[in-house]
């Protein structure tokens, strides 16, 4: 490329695009310049002065984090002057630092520790009293220890710029400056914990993690968050078969380092005291613990009886189980039980979108598109609450690429702050406001349209027609609710033509067997077929499980391998982090029932890998590259050719509209989510 800038760093010739900062250019050349306050993607501070380097013809040391590369620039990062400067900065930093590493959560993964170890200042020349302030708790999950704080302002910036929440600031000045929360003594924010994660030292610590372990005592398992549909990778710290924390410091996965409160803390449902750890069988109207073999035998026998008697089955699948389990379940329902009465709680009209786009390529957006495309249109969804990661992507896009954001929602949303145009569709007809945006949207070079469950059925086709009539490349995202809502649709947890949909199942009086896997349809509804044999696979004794004849305790998403598909159709791998005694993954449970019924030859082996192979062969759009998924990457499903069978029931599509602190049934069993909500209610 002709427009690269040539410079020399430590004698190495380096090329970098104009505008690159010296610190980044050095990093790309394999030269590390230490820094605390510099953080890729956030605004520049030049506050920590660690990244000072020598630049020829400059009288003073320069901060490489604010210095753009220039033609012919000669930079030296390892001279005695630079080394002395780094050492003195660390000495200054440690002057008021409590040096309580032995009890600090950050010990072992602390940037200040690492830098002190590497760049010196191991001995203190400081003999006066240090500035001390007691530790403060700002929320159930955020603690602040002022003396440890080095004031790099990363937390302030990630909260303000990254999250758009602006909950942190600075009070006082000079040596007693400190970070302060937005409500004097406490925080009112997303509780996302990004500030804790980004803190280079132990100043901000997590209420869920503090004093639990040392970092090196954990195993780190990168898996996919079990909550919303965005599919963030969360790296679980596991010790002694317990999840101690979740974060994504290794920046793997589509979400880079982003996680919301659910991804970071709400893994704790797995060891809730009410977790089922033994199969239950209804004896004299009461659920009694039984052995797995007895439970499986009972279910298999009953299923067989109903099948042989030509009875009526109904199968309800989950928004949370893996693709493999969904596939296996519907296959079992269709091929072994011989029923087309299969459904799940539908949260977004993905089939209508796939159908409207069938035959077209490059129309389905991935999550990265929200960060990269020049314009984004959000229709009828409060992304900051329902899809925090997509919201984060859009904000980052606005910040880094000045993307144009258009918002058409019923209520004010956080995206308004970065929006070029925000429209309120009071009458729930989005096409009026959309038409008024037509000229502006058509003038954009490209667009991503993200729409919620207000656009469903015919409206999806209308929206696609609108998008395609703009004359610019447009990509689409149909929002769905939960970690594998998209997969449930793709795997076919939908009724056959003539099959019963979920409300009809509940309303039918003549069901002989009702099988619910990881769902809670009886939370708000009632099963009319009182005599039906009800089998429920779940983690907890939900409303539905209480009505069951057999309850089979299921493993959660963190306790199994498999794949899930996120809201953008990106398939990612679940990795087993731990096991809970007495539970089995749904795939295994279904497999055991199949074996007991003698249906194993039809169903095939129940390992996640084998089922995934079958999915790749038989599910449309899922012929995705295995190595990408196997290596922890995200592979987007392919666009579909030909029509998608639609059952014309957009009325069944209903998003649960979970907030940041709720997550369907799962959220009810998360201590952290509950404590956050509680602390807010108690204010």
């Amino acid at each position: 490329m002709a427009d690269l800038v040539n410079l020399t760093i430590d004698g190495k010739p380096v090329q970098a695009p104009p505008g690159t900062l010296v610190i980044d250019a050095a990093k790309r050349a394999g030269i590390e310049v230490p820094a605390f306050c510099y953080y890729e993607g956030l605004s520049l501070q030049a506050a920590c002065r660690m990244c000072l380097v020598e630049v020829e013809k400059m009288p003073k040391l320069m901060t490489s984090c604010t210095l753009p590369v220039a033609e012919g620039m000669v930079v030296r990062t390892e001279t005695p002057t630079v080394a002395a400067a780094r050492k003195s900065m660390l000495e200054f930093l440690l002057a008021n630092h409590p040096l309580d590493c032995p009890v600090c959560d950050k010990g072992g993964e602390c940037e200040l520790q690492d830098m002190t170890f590497r760049y010196g200042a191991g001995e203190s020349r400081f003999s006066e009293n240090k500035v001390h302030k007691p530790e403060k708790q700002w929320s159930p999950v955020v603690f602040y220890d002022m003396p440890r704080c080095i004031l790099c302002y990363r937390c302030v910036r990630i909260c303000n710029e990254g999250m758009g929440v602006n909950a942190l600031g600075i009070v006082n000045r000079g040596v007693v400056s400190e970070i302060a929360p937005n409500k004097q003594d406490h925080l009112e924010c997303d509780e996302c914990g990004m500030c804790i994660d980004i803190c280079p030292v132990g100043a901000l610590t997590s209420g869920a993690y503090r004093y639990h372990t040392r970092p090196w005592e954990m195993e780190h398992v990168g898996t996919i968050c079990a909550h919303c549909a965005d599919g963030c990778k969360t790296t679980l710290g596991v010790r002694n078969n317990q999840i101690i924390r979740g974060n994504n410091r290794d920046r793997s996965g589509i979400n880079d380092e982003f996680l919301c409160v659910k991804g970071r803390y709400a893994f704790d449902f797995y060891n809730h005291p009410e977790r089922l750890q033994s199969p239950l069988l209804k004896v004299d109207g009461k659920l009694e613990p039984v052995s797995w073999s007895q439970a499986i035998e009972t279910v298999a026998k009953k299923f067989q009886q109903v099948r042989e008697a030509g009875g009526k089955f109904a199968v309800v699948g989950s928004n949370h189980t893996s693709n493999e389990e969904d596939f296996y379940l519907q296959k079992f329902g269709r091929q072994v039980l011989g029923t087309g009465n299969i459904d799940h709680h539908r949260t977004g009209d993905v089939p209508a979108l796939l159908d409207a786009l069938s035959g077209k390529t490059g129309k389905l957006a991935v999550s990265a598109d929200l960060y990269q495309r020049k314009a984004v249109l959000v229709v009828g969804a409060d992304l900051a609450l329902e899809h925090p990661f997509l919201s984060f992507q859009i904000r980052a896009n606005y910040r880094h690429h000045q993307a144009h954001v258009y918002v058409v929602t019923p209520r004010p949303v956080r995206e308004d702050a970065v929006a070029a145009v925000s429209l309120r569709d009071a009458c729930a007809d989005v096409f009026g406001p959309l038409e008024s945006l037509r000229a502006k949207l058509a003038a954009e070079p490209e667009l991503v349209i993200v729409f919620g469950d207000v656009v469903k059925g015919e409206a999806v086709r209308r929206l696609v027609d609108f998008g395609e009539s703009l004359g610019i490349p447009v990509k689409y995202v149909a929002l769905v609710d939960y970690s594998n809502s998209r997969g449930a649709v793709d795997m076919g947890l939908l009724p056959d033509a003539g099959g019963l949909a979920l409300p009809e199942m509940l309303a039918a009086g003549d069901l002989d067997a009702f099988w619910v896997v990881g769902a809670n349809p009886l939370k708000a509804g009632e099963l009319r077929s009182r005599s039906a044999f009800v089998v429920v696979q779940d983690m907890f004794l939900t409303e539905t499980a209480r009505a069951a004849d057999v309850v089979l305790p299921a493993a959660c998403a963190y306790e199994k391998n498999g794949t899930v598909t996120n809201v953008c159709g990106e398939v990612q791998k679940l990795k087993k982090a731990l096991g809970t005694m007495g539970t089995k993954p749904d795939l295994e449970i279904i497999g055991l029932i199949a074996r007991e019924m003698g249906a194993a030859p039809v169903m095939g082996p129940w390992t996640a890998e084998k089922v995934f192979d079958e999915i790749r062969r038989s599910v449309r759009g899922y012929d995705i590259p295995v190595p990408v998924v196997a290596a922890g990457g995200a592979a987007q499903t392919m666009p579909v050719n030909g029509r998608i069978p639609l059952d014309g029931r957009p009325d069944l599509i209903r998003s649960a509209r979970d907030s940041l602190f709720t997550s369907g049934t799962l959220g009810r069993y998360s201590k952290v989510l509950n404590s956050v909500v509680e602390s807010r209610n108690n204010r």
Binding site: A47, R49, F92, A95, N96, L151, N172, G174, V175
Partner: protein, 437 residues
């Protein structure tokens, strides 16, 4: 009002109306050549105005001494954004008390200077950022601005010229840091007063992200005289490369402390002896701060044959600064002086960057312990070392301002530190009354 008798050595250009009856009123101002320069400037092109300022060799009076005409010429003329004039009246440098007199006694001179700067860079709004402690001056300035509005010297269509200009005062909240130009702009915009990353400089990206001319009060006050009498006449008052006069604030152990307008290049010893009436009580000079407490301190020997101008001071490795001269006599304890200075900077450090935030406080603590008689020999080197580690590595010049006097005192008055060793009582205790800002 005036606080000291004028000296016959003064060359009164900026202070020519000081002492006149009602000198702050527009009537007095108009009766004494007021707004003549502005009327003349209306006939000139912006290039001519800037050229005239360049010819005058006017250098920034806030402390850094950057050529004013050059600074103005950096403003991108063809920028579609509005441009602003900002007056730095956050006079907080210890030892400096000149801007307050200029505003108190001749506010219209400042207004006229601002208007001419507005003409030069096509700005139509200006802000006077006045330190919070100068509350009474805000009233004086507001009154003068209101007067100027009512007589058509501010507002729309000034003097029928189609030039419009709005001027506002803005209060600081008591932070020395806000005298640093970019922190001042942050504070002006209603944010926390911390400095900005530069470049870009305010001339390109200043107040509200728009091109901004930002100068000290005294700098703007010199502009009417430059335009009225010509840049060459102003330049001729001073020395080559630094034109005009400088308001010099004499304080410390001197018989006649006060603010005197002296031509640049005035001999230091003559200033002390003849303008300031000599050292109080006939004592000997020990140390000399030429331009506010941020400047490296000079010894009595260094002051011989020294003149008050930018280049001469630079040759002695110190600065003319803001003109805040502090005289210290032979009874002064230099450790205590260093402590007093560092106490100020530790209190005023904004906390933004590490070396200044931690360094100032650490050195203050060390000096305090040392002065209390609990110092060790190694502490002397440590104090100097810490100051050196701060110097040139901080985000803004506050760190340098704290480091320079410390380094110079440790270097030049090393023996006084030694005198405090081994629990000896301070040998200079009788001179406790060090008069510093």
């Amino acid at each position: 009002m005036l606080y000291n008798e004028p000296s016959p050595h003064e060359v009164k250009v900026l202070t020519r109306r000081f002492g006149l009856e009602n000198s702050a009123s527009l009537d007095t101002y108009l009766a004494t050549d007021g707004f003549k320069a502005f009327k003349k400037a209306l006939e000139m092109t912006p290039e001519q105005i800037i050229e005239e300022v360049k010819i005058s060799n006017l250098r920034g009076r806030g402390g850094a001494g950057f050529p004013a005409g050059l600074k103005w010429s950096f403003v991108p003329r063809n920028s579609p954004k509005p441009k602003y004039i900002v007056v730095n009246a956050d006079e907080s440098e210890p030892g400096t008390c000149k801007d307050r007199l200029l505003m108190e006694n001749d506010p219209h001179q400042l207004i006229e200077g601002v208007l001419i700067a507005g003409l030069a860079v096509d700005a139509h709004a200006g802000y006077i950022y006045i330190r919070g402690e100068y509350r009474y001056l805000i009233e004086i300035m507001d009154r003068a601005i209101a007067e100027a509005y009512s007589c058509g010297y501010l507002g729309k269509n000034i003097l029928g010229s189609n030039f419009h200009f709005d001027l506002y005062t803005h209060t600081g909240a008591g932070a020395y840091e806000c005298g640093e130009e970019s922190a001042l702009l942050e504070s002006l915009e209603g944010k926390r007063g911390v400095p900005r990353i530069r470049p870009p400089f305010p001339a390109v990206v200043g107040a509200f992200q728009c091109p901004t001319v930002l100068n000290n009060v005294e700098t703007y006050c010199a502009v009417p005289a430059i335009i009225r009498d010509g840049g060459a006449a102003f330049a001729a008052l001073g020395v080559p490369k630094a034109g005009g006069t400088k308001l010099t604030c004499l304080s410390g152990h001197i018989n006649k402390p006060g603010v005197y307008e002296l031509p640049l290049g005035f001999p230091v010893m003559k200033m002390i002896e003849e303008v300031g009436g000599g050292i109080r009580g006939g004592k000997k000079l020990k140390a000399f701060i030429p331009g506010g407490s941020s400047c490296p301190v000079l010894t009595a020997e260094e002051c011989q044959d020294l003149t008050m101008d930018y280049d001469a001071m630079a040759r002695k490795k110190t600065m003319l600064g803001s003109g805040g001269v502090v005289i210290m006599d032979e009874d002064t304890c230099m450790v205590r002086a260093a402590l007093r200075i560092m106490r100020f900077y530790a209190h005023e450090s904004c906390g933004w960057c590490i070396p200044c935030r931690e360094g100032t406080t650490w050195i203050r603590k060390l000096l305090q312990r040392f002065h209390d008689g609990m110092g060790q020999r190694s502490d002397i080197a440590l104090i100097g070392d810490l100051a050196k580690n701060m110097f040139g590595r901080t985000f803004c010049p506050l760190g340098d301002a704290a480091a320079m006097p410390t380094m110079s005192i440790v270097e030049k008055f090393y023996h006084e530190f030694e005198d405090h060793l081994d629990g000896k009582p301070c040998p200079y205790e009788k001179a406790r009354q060090l008069v510093m800002a």
